[in-house]
Amino acid sequence: MKMGKMMIGLGLILAVVLLGCTETPKPAPTPVPTPIPTTPVEKTPVITTPVQTTPIPTTPVEKTPGVVTTPPRLTGEIKVCALYDTRIPAFKANVEALKLAIEEINAQGGIMGKKLELIHQDTQRKVDIAITAYRSAVIEKGCKVVFVEGVSEEVMALLEEGAKIYHSNPHIMISSQAGMESTLKVIEDYEKYKFFFRSLPSDPEMNYKVTKVFFDIAKDVIGAKKVALLLEDAAWTKCAREGCTYNTKFGTVGSKAMKDWVKEEYGLEVVYISNLAVGEKNFLPILETAAARGAEFIFVLSSWYTDTTTLTKQWASSSARNIPIAFFGGTAQWMTAWNLTGGASLGTIVMTYDYEAIPLANPNTAGVIKKLHERGISLDTSTHYAYSELMRVKEAMERAGNPEDIDAVIKAMEELEFKNHTIHRAEYMFFGYKNPNFHSYTGGPTMIAQFQCNGKPVYIVPSDVLAKGGYVEESQKVQPDAYKSPAELRKICK
């Protein structure tokens, strides 16, 4: 071989590989939060609060409970398409969640007598393949509802494709895509993009309202005064890294950079900030520096793109291992994280909805988690979203009175106060507010647990935070007093 040329060639390949796709198929950017208050739209932002949702709250929708009256029985099938690369565990889980929802809906007689049929197509997370699959799903297979994996570039391409074919082939697209740009499209050109719903809060909400609860824990449960912020270097974290403002015709939404609001609102000193490169494997310099700067709490704002398993393992073996660490997303959300890390996640603080005994009011939540666990699936929040969104579609179709009338179904989706979401209260995933969260979720406090002995999660969110967020009965079941430092847990869990 001609070694010199070969080496330069290999060097170039390396650069591309290392910078681009080192750590493979980590799924979507979807970080995934969970909210839950009572007040639909935030109208008066708190003074220090970065987020200034200048809503235009609009018509708090008609919340007429009894919507449908003996709908006519229809024949035929309603096709639901799922465009997911199931090599990615999170996407496989989404497909399984849709299957489960369809089985349950069909077992109850379908939607107005029509059975649902799931068609899964693999996108390989490539835009061109996704577009082909999407066109085929809508035009050839006649799908009325299309679930799309939350990969931003894909969703943005599919939105344009969908806009072209909507009028000849009306359908609904649902995705837990992270970037705000898709929501902006719906707001700015409603007629063109109204078929799109984003099962995720807008970026400022995600980076501020959803993450706040971690700092409530840092301050009130742990008693930390100095914090380190590790922020994934991706588009969806821009609001946390730099601050952001979005002006829309429905109002303005934005947030300050996390380092600023953490200091202003919580009085916490930010002693270290580091951006995390996607695919990074060496977290030790970051962890050691955080420890050297005296951090008393480490917050990791991450999605699936950040290798939280490696980060957890390295945290547990580094000088930072006695500093409480909290993860927003990634594999840390799964109960399996305990096995994946060989127990190194002992003491870590995570947002998790993968525990059957989670203290949530919805009577369906534990059942869904259990059934999916029986299928070998771990759940992150997007798994709950997939299941719940299909249930919402069912109610919307019934409310519309005709599953084929997609314009009416979209209207119903916007007006429906859906109460059977497995992890959110109705107000937080209400699609119809004509504010910057239009057709997307709203942010709020989430359920945060600490992995204690044998990987058992103990929910440690302060009760008052939950109460303010609308969790009333459930707040009795959390145990912020049960929080233990990682060092203490290592002693008692041997």
Partner: protein, 290 residues
């Protein structure tokens, strides 16, 4: 400042030694066979998932499972040699494509049987405490990995400088045709080189599994480190690989502790590219293994 210096020195040693261990086998294959074994990344996967299979699914003890997985790695490597490398010896482009295909097949098979959600974990922690170094504290398992890498390097050097097979491999790496003329058994030596090259990555992978995530796609991440070191060092040259591993280790430690950890990989790549532009054949120009 003293703390930072301690950290940079310590982590240059840690990262450098670990990268050297990861790249050792690749350097050997490239140096002796003059083949870019693009299936090398599969070795990392077979080592850990093989151990998991024998340990968790078949029910052997951990040590037996590790030994069996290394045997499995050797069998796999030999099969790759017989089925792909020999077959496409004269058709290098096809050989490279076939080797990548082998890697992807292994990856997909593992992803099918052991998706990430299975929660594969190999408890190979040898020393889990912190090791003080100046004002820094280093994770014990990293220190163990670094010393095992150096031990493997020492064994390899002894092999190349003291054994008959080592001499033969160096002879081949210096002049393939001349060694053929003096009666070297190519097939046997190549197969042996492939097999002994597969052992260091397997061992290092098992040692770093308590501190790195294990998932079916981890092979690429580790393999790219091996390529980076080998390319910078001058493909197939052990001296070059040693220099390259520690240079990359130093860059990462320096950037990680003094500049911005976000830039560790980027700056390492920029330095590698600059070195390659100046010295297209890498740091060690000689086309020999040692």
């Amino acid at each position: 400042m003293i703390a930072e210096v301690s950290l940079i020195v310590a982590y240059t040693f840690i990262f450098g030694s670990m990268y050297l261990g990861i790249a050792l086998g690749f350097t050997l294959t490239t140096g002796v066979l003059r083949v870019f074994n693009l299936a090398y990344g599969a070795i990392f996967l077979i080592a850990v998932y093989g151990t998991w299979m024998f340990w968790n699914d078949v029910g052997f003890g951990l040590i037996e499972s590790i030994v069996l997985s290394i045997v499995l790695v050797s069998v796999f490597t030999y099969a790759v040699y017989r089925i792909v490398i020999l077959k496409f010896a004269e058709l290098e482009d096809y050989m490279l494509a076939a080797l990548v295909a082998v890697f992807v097949i292994v990856e997909e098979l593992i992803a099918y049987f052991y998706p990430e959600i299975v929660g594969v974990y190999i408890p190979t922690t040898i020393y889990g405490e912190l090791v003080p170094f100046g004002e820094a504290n280093i994770p014990g398992q990293y220190v163990v990995t670094a010393f095992v890498s150096l031990a493997l390097l020492a064994i390899y050097l002894l092999f190349f400088t003291k054994t008959k097979n080592g001499f033969i491999m160096r002879a081949i790496s210096q002049d393939m045709f001349a060694s053929k003329l003096v009666g070297v058994n190519f097939n046997r030596t190549f197969a042996l080189a492939m097999i002994i090259a597969s052992i260091p990555p397997a061992i290092i992978m098992l040692l770093i599994s308590p501190i790195w995530a294990l998932n079916p796609y981890i092979g690429w991440s580790v393999f790219t480190i091996a390529i980076l070191v080998a390319v910078l060092g001058g493909l197939g040259n052990l001296k070059g690989s040693i220099m390259a591993a520690y240079i990359i280790g130093f860059i990462q430690a320096f950037v990680g502790f003094l500049l911005d950890p976000r830039l560790m990989l980027l700056i390492a790549l920029i330095v590698v590219m600059i070195v390659l532009i100046v010295r297209p054949k890498g740091l060690a120009r000689a086309e020999t293994i040692w």
